[in-house]
Amino acid sequence: MKTFVRLSLLALVVAALAFGLTRWLAPHPHADADEMAWMKTEFHLTPAQTAAIEKLHEDYSPVCMEHCRLIREARARLTALDAANQRATPDYAAAQAEMTRLKAVCHDATQKHLKAVAAQMSPDEGRRFLDLTIPKLAGQSHDAPLDPR
């Protein structure tokens, strides 16, 4: 029994040392990679899948920029109304409603884009991609079931 305890302690200490040294010394994967390079290696994308996803990004870029512009405008309007002490006015309520609508539109568009990207991957990798990315969307409730298709 004493030998078993001593062996277990030795194993624990050695495991902790190996863990600490690996965490400290081993290079962190993807440390210098951009997002596309990361996706390529992490989700084992073929050249065809990579090209399709790059095309999706190109197509989504103007949509994303337009959403950014609309949200900035809505935010600026809310800030201006707030600064003018107009919080109790119908204008402010309308601006708030518009902001809520825009947030929902952006959220849905981004989620749709992520699902389109996932659909280019193999089913397993697509599911893993969505499991990783959807919870990181702003305003994600974390309880929606995910479907890569």
Partner: protein, 109 residues
């Protein structure tokens, strides 16, 4: 060999008078009783034969512990990097996060 042989004459004339050593027998027995001292093995010899100096169970425990610790460290490194990259990717395509960060530039990779 006979007495006329010169070698025999020389041998017959040779006399050996050993010096008196009172503790000769004692010294001989002490040397017989002393344990044989093997030369200490070198560091590399010890290193190369380390399993024979350790119980097999200890060797296995150490090897398994190294594998488990290294594996856990690598898995955690990979998990954290993957999570960080996924967050960076989502941040680069989510207008809500991009506009929340005033310093962020609009870039799609």
């Amino acid at each position: 060999m006979n007495d006329h042989d010169p070698l025999s004459r020389v041998l017959n004339s040779w006399k050996h008078n050993p010096s008196h050593t009172p503790d000769f027998a004692k010294t001989v027995w002490a040397r017989i009783d002393a344990p044989e001292e093997a030369p200490a093995p070198s560091f590399f010899a010890q290193f190369l034969h380390f399993p024979s100096h350790l119980p097999i169970a200890a060797s296995f425990a150490v090897i398994l512990a190294v594998l488990a610790g290294t594996g856990a460290g690598l898995a955690l490194n990979h998990g954290q990097s993957t999570d960080r990259m996924a967050a960076a990717y989502v941040r680069s395509i989510d207008p809500l996060q991009m506009t929340a960060d005033a310093t962020a530039s609009h870039s799609h990779s």
